[in-house]
């Protein structure tokens, strides 16, 4: 590829084996950065850029008469971003590798420390599945240090929110991917903000909790004002509105945080959930 640089023998390549159960890495690794990633995975590169990835190392494994296996080894800016990009797609079975992992349809994904790893077999067979797991365990073992998850996660109501529904992100494009709010950035999200979105069930109905941390309280206030004026101009009281589907949306600011509940079954429930998050903030 024109825009990839060869990183044979680099520090990153030391995390990946060259040989696993007969699959060998015979060609040189490829490396991509936030500018050149589109040459590799086209528009999908935006996902990793939105999580501040720094470098991607790609290693191909081949075994005669077998599907190719590709390791995509992402170096993220932090363990929080490694966790975050992992939460972008949580479909699949738990694979028990790294600090969080999934397997589905010939794809093994996991995060550990500041690294996000995707191991992909061009065709899923029993043999490739086994190799993916061995390879994943080998790579995870080579990453010595674990990293921290975002502390915002602790603010989600654990009783109701499903682990498989929790996403950590920075910008509104990723928010809209998981839960469409607006095509305009009405919550004023950017790479300086941190957000967690979780879904849960209450009385059989799905609701969503969104907690956003801004760099400072003033920005949180601005976002609150922008959101409420755009999304709930017909609020029954400040920060509380019944939407067209007869569900309730509530928003409140607390210090540098903006808390939004979507799809609550009642106004009481919306207020209670927000107050629950506020109590958690006070306890920290």
């Amino acid at each position: 590829m024109d825009n990839c640089s060869k990183k044979e023998g680099s520090f990153l390549s030391s995390f990946l084996p060259r040989d696993i159960q007969g699959w060998k890495a015979e060609e040189e690794d490829q490396s991509y950065d936030p500018q050149t990633i589109f040459d590799y995975i086209d528009g999908a590169g935006e996902v990793y850029r939105s999580y501040n990835f720094k470098e991607l190392l790609v290693r191909h494994f081949r075994k005669k008469d077998n599907p190719e296996i590709i390791v995509d080894f992402f170096v993220m800016s932090s363990s929080k971003d490694a966790f975050g990009v992992f939460t972008h797609d949580l479909e699949g079975e738990e694979a028990g590798i790294g600090q969080g992992s999934t397997y589905q349809g010939g794809l093994l994904s996991f995060w550990k420390g500041p690294f996000f790893v995707s191991i992909y077999a061009e065709e899923e067979t029993e043999e490739t599945r086994e190799v993916l797991f061995h390879l994943g365990k080998a790579v995870a073992f080579s990453i010595k240090e674990e990293g921290e998850k975002p502390d915002l996660l602790a603010l989600l109501p654990a009783k109701y929110v499903n682990d498989k529904s929790i996403h950590y992100f920075h910008n509104h494009m990723i928010l809209n991917y998981h839960f469409f709010v607006s095509d305009e950035n009405i919550l004023l999200l950017d790479q300086q903000t941190e957000a967690v979105l979780g879904a849960g069930y209450e009385k059989g109905e799905e609701f969503y909790v969104l907690v956003i941390r801004y760099p400072e309280g003033r920005k949180a206030s601005q976002a609150y004002g922008n959101f409420t004026s755009t999304y709930m101009p017909d609020a029954v009281e400040p920060g509380l509105v019944q939407t067209e589907d007869m569900k309730w949306t509530a928003a409140r600011i607390k210090e540098d945080l903006l808390i939004v509940i979507f799809n609550a079954s009642s106004d009481t429930s919306a207020r209670e959930m927000i107050e629950g998050v506020e109590r958690k903030v006070e306890q920290k």
Binding site: F38, I41, D42, G43, A44, E46, V47, Y48, I70, D72, D89, E91, G92, Q104, G105, G106, L107, S109, S118, Y120, E123, E124, M173, N176, Y177, F180, V181, S182, D183, E184, I186, T230, Y231, T243, E244, D245, F262
Partner: protein
């Protein structure tokens, strides 16, 4: 006054008044009258023998399918006469293909198109086939007519890889059009003078990808043999129809409603915001030819 944009509540509002509108939320805000004028024609043709046992297209069947689709689209009996309505001998024609490794347009389709363009009188040296090299390709640089051909698939960032999206390789810096899940891809068609040049849009539904996973967004598990081709002069109509097929397959496979993620909003905004074409099924005349089993729509 600052443009408010579309919020979730606009969808809810639309769904409350029309079940169809709920399925096409980005039709919200359209100023189009409910009274439908002339409909846009889209041809869907399928042939159960188009793929061999290894899933590879049969060139003869592809030619036959394209001929039948184009003649039906343009109301002609003979494919060459139909193609003469699309291109003139003096034209310089670019066939805008797609080379994505897992699901490319393919030589069979490219050559079938080239054959008929030649039959319509265009000299072979004035016909080019390209994808990522179009900005530097001399044929495309001086083209007077374009034929847009690609397979439909889900896409990690835009929802679907569509005929509208196929022209992104004309732009100098692709990320410039990535914002908001590629919402404004349709502007490429105006910004780069492609709308009038485009004579035909072919959206291949032979072996579509209906779900993507991981950075490569591909797993054979999520392809199926639909064995179809969609053809229209309206890129928005052909894409909107393709999306309906994908959504139907997803419903079938997953056993529940599984909206595309992200939604293919660029297709519907191409209609309601950019007026590139028509997305609403009420405004599309869908003509179905050939094999009907498993048609889904």
């Amino acid at each position: 006054m600052k443009k408010r944009g579309i919020t979730r509540r606009d969808f809810l509002r639309a769904a409350a008044v029309s079940t169809l509108a709920g399925a096409f939320p980005f039709s919200v805000g359209s100023k189009e009258s409910k009274v439908v004028s002339r409909k846009v024609r889209v041809i869907l043709i399928r042939d159960k023998n188009v793929l061999d046992s290894s899933g590879h297209p049969n060139a003869d069947v592809i030619q036959r399918m394209l001929d039948e689709a184009v003649t039906a689209l343009l109301g002609e009996k003979d494919p060459v006469e139909a193609w003469k309505k699309l291109v003139k001998p003096a034209d310089i024609v670019g066939i805008k293909s797609n080379v994505w490794g897992y699901l490319p347009t393919g030589k069979e389709v490219e050559q079938a198109l080239k054959r008929r363009i030649q039959d319509a009188g265009v000299a072979p040296e004035n016909i080019g086939i390209d994808d990522r090299g179009v900005k530097k390709n001399p044929i495309f640089k001086k083209s007077t007519a374009l034929i847009n051909a690609r397979p439909i698939r889900t896409h990690h960032w835009s929802g679907v890889g569509s005929c509208i999206k196929n022209y992104i390789t004309f732009v100098p810096w692709l990320p410039a059009y990535h914002g908001d899940s590629c919402a404004n891809l349709a502007t490429i068609w105006k910004d780069f003078n492609l709308k009038e040049k485009t004579k035909l849009n072919i959206l291949l539904v032979l072996t579509p990808l209906f779900h993507g996973i991981g950075p490569h967004h591909f797993s054979k598990k999520y392809m199926w043999e639909y064995k179809g081709i969609l053809v229209s002069q309206d890129p928005v109509a052909v894409d909107a129809t393709g999306v309906r097929i994908l959504q139907a397959q997803r419903r079938e496979f997953f056993g529940e409603e599984r909206p595309l993620k992200p939604p293919a909003k660029h297709i519907f905004l191409a209609d309601t915001r950019h007026h590139l074409g028509v997305s609403h099924p009420d405004r599309i005349e869908l003509v179905k030819l050939g094999w009907k089993e498993g048609i889904l729509i």
